[in-house]
């Protein structure tokens, strides 16, 4: 397994090996699926759309419907305008979506297709039926990562839909970040337990966790509606979770409609969830019900009951920046030591944030943005860890180095659960604890000698 990875680290400036990110459009496609009755559309070569649909399908085991402009060489030379017009005509005639959410690709970005103009022209020419909306976002694959694409499409939802129609309503916008349908569902549940009216966008719950009912709904019942998106302009405030995935949309909403925002970390782990609940309290003056405080207490209960198995354990962590910031803090709260942290997404602010969180507990943390799993593996070879946490690609490193492994983040292509059980909120903290303790104890059970094989742990 990964036998050719040497321990010795040679500095690389050009070659990416085993990336810890992918390109923007897939994030935009995922975000688009969080709009009700929306058909995502990839403006570029067919392969982009095929790859993104395939990868999202592998992660969710659900239909991922999306269309493409099917560029050929002609479009690459003369521009993809004609392809987009044909695509819109076909999509609205055959698939009747409420919204078509167009994102670009490196091809259409390099050509320089002007999407707003193309869309306006299509509308003028009657290609976009009355009452239907075509939105777009630019997702050049050579900038940022899949998280950037998610962020860009979420911001486009604000640009195209949010309206100021009057005074602020009794409404809070929640931008949940690049998280799972289960997480969006949990965030909505928490908001409703707190007794607040909220619009969560994007919202892929009831889209990418749809029930098996023996009939296909091209547009499942979930997703934020266009009317709800419009109303975000009249909200009293926005809670944006995750700097990388959600800040831009919140800032745009303030700029356009004057809705004040608060930028929070993803509510993963106990401290970040505490801050989320506290922010809702501060914003609305509403006290959380006892059920939420009890849930929190159950998390702390597990933390105190099982601390001997977690305390001081060294962890290697990789994935998307918003997830890693909250997870690193959670690990710190558990007395664990996240010693190696890698994200593929570029952004020095990520490194600074991680260092700030870990300055007392892991002052010499190895942290790098715009890095890859090859480097992480080499770090681990040079300084071994007790636990690896990250997306599915971590399983190769875990096997090569024989390290217990907890799947966390996007994508997870080889297990189920992420779409059904949240990692956000106190419920999510419990699930993460169960997984980490389980992985560490399974390893202990495997390695203990017969006479030390424990019945009770």
């Amino acid at each position: 397994m990964l036998d050719l990875t040497p321990k010795e680290i040679i500095r690389r400036k050009a070659l990416r090996i085993n990336p810890a990110k992918t390109c923007q459009p897939i994030g935009a496609m995922y975000a688009s699926l969080g709009i009700h009755a929306c058909l995502p559309h990839s403006h570029g070569s067919q392969g982009c759309c095929a790859y993104h649909r395939s990868h999202l399908t592998r992660h969710y085991k659900e239909p991922i419907m999306a269309a493409t402009s099917s560029f050929t060489e002609g479009a690459a030379v003369f521009g993809g305008g004609a392809n987009l017009r044909q695509a819109l005509k076909t999509m609205f005639t055959v698939y009747n979506p409420e919204v078509v959410a167009v994102h670009t690709t490196c091809l259409s970005e390099t050509i320089g297709d002007d999407l707003p103009t193309l869309i306006r022209k299509a509308a003028d020419d009657g290609i976009i039926p009355k009452g239907k909306t075509v939105i777009h976002t630019n997702t050049p694959s050579f900038v940022g990562s899949h998280v950037t694409g998610f962020s860009n499409m979420t911001r486009s939802m604000v640009r195209y839909f949010s309206k100021k129609n009057g005074g602020p309503k009794d409404l809070i916008n929640i931008i949940p970040g690049y998280v799972e349908p289960s997480d969006m569902r949990e965030i909505k549940r928490l908001a409703s337990e707190m007794g607040i009216n909220s619009v969560v966008f994007p919202d892929t719950s009831d889209v990418l966790d749809a029930p098996q009912r023996g009939r296909l709904r091209l547009y499942p019942k979930g997703g934020v509606t266009t009317r709800e998106l419009e109303s975000t302009g009249d909200a009293t405030a926005t809670l944006a979770m995750g700097t990388f995935a959600s800040a831009d949309a919140a800032i745009e909403l303030e700029r356009r409609c004057g809705v004040a925002y608060e930028l929070l970390d993803l509510p993963i782990g106990i401290s970040a969830t505490d801050r989320f609940i506290q922010a809702v309290i501060d914003m609305t003056g509403k006290e959380p019900p006892a059920s939420i405080t009890d849930d929190r207490g159950r998390v702390v209960d597990i933390m105190t009951d099982m601390l001997q198995y977690l305390y001081g354990k060294k962890v290697a962590l990789f994935g998307d920046p918003d997830h890693l910031v909250s997870m690193a803090e959670f690990l710190k709260d558990l007395g664990m030591k996240p010693v190696h942290i890698v994200t593929g997404t570029p952004g020095k602010k990520f490194e600074r944030r991680i260092k700030a969180i870990l300055k007392d507990s892991v002052p010499d943390v190895n942290v790098k943005s715009a890095a890859d799993l090859f480097l992480l593996h080499q770090w681990i070879k040079n300084s071994p860890v007790d636990l690896l946490i990250g997306n599915v690609y971590g399983k190769y490193i875990a096997r090569a180095e024989d390290i217990p492994f907890v799947r966390f983040g996007f994508p997870i292509l080889d297990r189920i659960g992420h779409s059904y059980f949240p990692t956000v909120g106190y419920a999510g903290a419990m699930r993460l604890l169960e997984k980490m303790v389980g992985a560490i104890l399974d390893r202990k059970d495997r390695d203990d000698s017969d006479e030390h094989f424990e019945l009770v742990m």
Partner: protein, 541 residues
């Protein structure tokens, strides 16, 4: 649900169904799409439109040229470093997702678990990416010391004018290893198929024929076999039992070294005609190696293919050995299939895969007593449907013209006819060598063929015909299953396999039975939805 599709297809008029389906399209689209569909009628010559542009927005299964080149043909070569020149996504998505299995040879070189990319950034798009590509090659060499490197272009590379061929030549000279560049930008051609062709060209020009290692005995190359789920290993097992030696496989579990002496084999076996027929043709012209179309999918098809190979070599001892192996293997396989066949016979299947599998798996379904009622390729050409006799009449359109055809001449030193010309002519006439009849002749009257199927067409066909199983890819799998119909992925084999050869057929039978007859399907409707809702209200008195 059993046999429902069969009765449905005989009850309805399939021509009317196709007409009704295309009526939902805009007029021009309807006209175009109708030419990609036909109802099989063996009594008349039939033509189908294929290998042309997909309608934008129609929701297609198709991918791109890069996917066909790097993803399909070159990526599976085990001991080369494959560097993708472009933004990160293209390399990322082709990283271990296709299940082309492979093992390191004695030198320990296996790069299949690695993903290499130049991860182009905005400044590379603006100022050009050649320097970054050169640096990436140098870094790869410094870390791994591979014997060869491939470079694959993604969409923006062609547009910004990076000359990857030049970079390859320069770096090859500098480092003293083979570096092969493929201009497989995603927008070339109309599907993955363009990428196959480009990959074939590169391998033929730069790899094949470079190392003359004498091959003894009945030596063959296995072309168009990608070792999904271990297929190539099962094929190899059976061929070895027969005394037939595989020199190189193109390209499942392939090694660069073995490909270099592939031209020393005496016969090419073509499994996936679509992706590799170019190689077979070019090797025949340059080195005099004839090719045979085989199908290793299905018990009877496997035996038939072995007999064809034996017939070619005209060696009584070989023929005897082949018959002995067939007798033993068939008996075991048919016995293995029997319990599943009992539960599957009479059921119906749809097949929408690739450029060959939609044909190959019809044989395997026949072994199971099942019938393929609708089939079509994602990126096949007309010859894959109608047979190679249509080739001289095919007009090259603008999209095909930009894929280079290489002029091949007999190699002055290495051209060696494997049989006297008159014998070869005879074998050609018999259809044993250099011949492929396509899918259509194997499809029964009244069955439906749809090329480059759209989501809409797939949904309507399933709704109307209610097949027992639909074989397709990952993008369709859960779409189909949400309709209450089981779906088998025939690209990735649902992370199982092998399905080729005798053992593979038994695996396949077991899994189709599992999919079709699983109790899970009977749980879709909740008990309270089945029973009449209004029962007497409990007595409140």
């Amino acid at each position: 649900m059993s046999e429902q599709a069969l009765s449905n297809i005989s009850r309805i008029n399939p021509e009317d169904l196709l007409e009704e389906i295309v009526r939902s399209y805009p007029t021009k689209v309807a006209r175009k799409r109708r030419n990609h569909m036909l109802v099989r009628n063996p009594e008349e010559p039939q033509h189908i439109q294929a290998n042309v542009r997909t309608v934008p927005g129609i929701i297609t299964q198709r991918g791109c040229c890069y996917a066909g080149c790097k993803g399909v043909v070159i990526g599976p070569i085990v001991d080369m470093v494959h560097i993708v020149h472009g933004p990160i996504g293209c390399s990322y998505y082709a990283w271990m997702t296709r299940r082309n299995l492979g093992k390191a040879r004695e030198d320990g070189q296996n790069y299949l678990q690695y993903c290499f990319s130049t991860d182009m950034q905005e400044e590379n798009i603006i100022f050009g990416g050649e320097k970054k590509l050169m640096a990436a090659i140098e870094e790869a060499y410094e870390i791994f010391h591979p014997k060869a490197i491939s470079i694959h272009a993604t969409c923006p590379v062609g547009l910004i004018g990076d000359d990857i061929q030049h970079v390859a030549r320069m770096m090859s000279e500098k480092l003293g290893i083979d570096i092969i560049a493929f201009n497989c930008e995603g927008y070339r051609g109309v599907s993955q198929s363009a990428g196959h062709h480009i990959a074939n060209n590169g391998l033929f020009e730069k790899v094949v024929g470079k190392d003359d290692v004498e091959q003894e005995g009945f030596s063959v190359n296995c072309l168009g076999e990608y070792n999904i789920g271990g297929d190539a290993w099962e094929i190899e097992r059976v061929l070895e039992r027969c005394g037939i030696k595989i020199v190189s496989t193109f390209s499942g579990n392939a090694s660069y070294d073995e490909m270099r002496h592939a031209h020393m084999a005496n016969l090419n076996l073509v499994q996936c005609h679509r992706s590799i027929n170019y190689m077979a043709e070019m090797m025949e012209t340059a080195y005099g190696i004839p090719w045979i179309k085989v199908n290793f999918i299905g018990v009877k098809a496997m035996s038939k293919s072995l007999r064809k190979i034996a017939e070619f070599f005209e060696d009584p001892a070989l023929s005897e050995r082949v018959e002995k192996v067939i007798a033993e293997e068939e008996e075991r396989a048919l016995k293995g299939i029997e319990p599943f066949r009992e539960r599957l016979k009479g059921k119906s299947a749809f097949l929408f895969v690739g450029g060959s599998r939609a044909h190959h798996y019809q044989d395997l379904f026949r072994d199971l007593g099942m019938k393929t009622v609708v089939a079509g390729y994602e990126f096949g050409h007309r010859d894959d449907y109608e047979g190679r006799q249509v080739l001289p009449n095919l007009k090259l359109d603008a999209d095909s013209k930009n894929i280079p055809e290489i002029e091949v001449q007999p190699d002055p030193e290495r051209y060696r006819p494997r049989k006297p010309p008159e014998v070869l002519e005879e074998l050609k006439k018999k259809g044993l060598i250099d011949s492929y009849q396509g899918m259509l002749p194997d499809m029964e009257k009244g069955s439906i063929v749809v090329d480059d199927i759209s989501h809409f067409e797939l949904e309507r066909l399933i709704e109307t015909l209610k097949p027992d199983i639909v074989c397709s890819g990952i993008k369709d799998k859960y779409v189909i299953q949400k309709m209450g119909v089981p779906s088998k992925q025939l690209h990735s084999y649902d992370y199982s396999g092998p399905y080729a050869g005798y053992k593979g057929a038994v695996n396949f039978a077991r899994e189709i039975d599992m999919l079709v007859n699983s109790p899970a399907w009977s749980m879709i409707t909740a008990p309270w939805e089945k029973a009449p809702l209004l029962k007497a209200v409990p007595n409140k008195v």
